[in-house]
Symmetry: C2
Amino acid sequence: MVDHTVKSFDSEISQLRGLIAEMGGLAEVAIRESIEALTRHDADLARKVVAADARLDALEAEVDRLAVRTIALRAPMADDLRDVIAALKISGVIERIGDYAKNIARRVDELEGRSKVEPITLVPAMAEIAQGMVRDVLNAYGSRDAMLAVEVIRRDEKLDQFYNTLFRSLLTHMMENPATISSAAQLLFVARNLERIGDHATNVAEMVYYAATGEYCSERDAKDEKDSAI
Amino acid sequence: MVDHTVKSFDSEISQLRGLIAEMGGLAEVAIRESIEALTRHDADLARKVVAADARLDALEAEVDRLAVRTIALRAPMADDLRDVIAALKISGVIERIGDYAKNIARRVDELEGRSKVEPITLVPAMAEIAQGMVRDVLNAYGSRDAMLAVEVIRRDEKLDQFYNTLFRSLLTHMMENPATISSAAQLLFVARNLERIGDHATNVAEMVYYAATGEYCSERDAKDEKDSAI
């Protein structure tokens, strides 16, 4: 009986982890496609990204239900309970990452038909970093890899530098081309959304690190200081 | 013995609710003071807001710990378990509201000494709505008041309209006064942060409504559609 209970718990945890892996995959696709839609002015693709977000919301709700049911039926203790709570939290963060991608996709309509804002050429490279952070933090979660989690946390600095560069570049562009101010303002938000995606991936990385080592990652404070730059 | 367990559970839920009320109060103060710091160019007050955010982070961690301990020790079922999970989620949202206020406070340094951006005069009234939503949704949570929760959800539309007005007003100001583009860009983010605070208060209101009635609030879809405007 005990063995049976343990096996059921393991299968529920696997199910939770599977749902989170699925969410991570969808969030990655959403980031990539939102940027594609933006750079190609592809309104159809943008609408697809916005519509696809509902699936992420539904998966988050499924994680919530399964987590609550697991806790209620199995009454897991200590490490197992922390695993379930972590799944609950991580699914919430991924859902938010999806929201940021959706926000980027929603800006495509605002940009379409307007004059080109040159710094947009920097956006795909920035998005690549953010997307890579999401992919790797999910891998770190799947394989409980504390070192990969630390690597993701460190990469956030690079993303922040990219953000600062893009931010300044957009302001300069606005000053020199007042006619593009409206489009450039949309890109300011896109840049900020990508920067926030990195922050959320970092958050998950910290949870993964904690779950794997039982200690808080020391990269955090440094990050928080740096974050105050803009 | 059963009676004793039930009482302990009630006392833990009360403790959780007390922590969340404390978090809500701090978040409200953070919003108010960040806007005061912004409009008065008060760098000291801005630093105080940034520093105070650590207390919100600590309280969220305390809610997490207490919630996990409550689940582990009391193994609550059905409604009680949902209450604990709701506390866990709501504390996460309030912590994020605090982050938005901190982000506003961090922009004070970027604005200081620069030429005045006229639309800043609209910011306090917008902040007032956001702060009122946070206050009222916490009251709705405290008194399990579904009607007050619906009222908060409806008020988000007013906040979004305010955001759209301020957004356009800032873009116009940028076009007419290119010298203030940098400061105006900071205010774009402030406006967006306030709009996001409203979204998060709305999120909590939806959880309160669900907890009180067992049904999802029908205001949600309308809200999501409207949100796509910008």
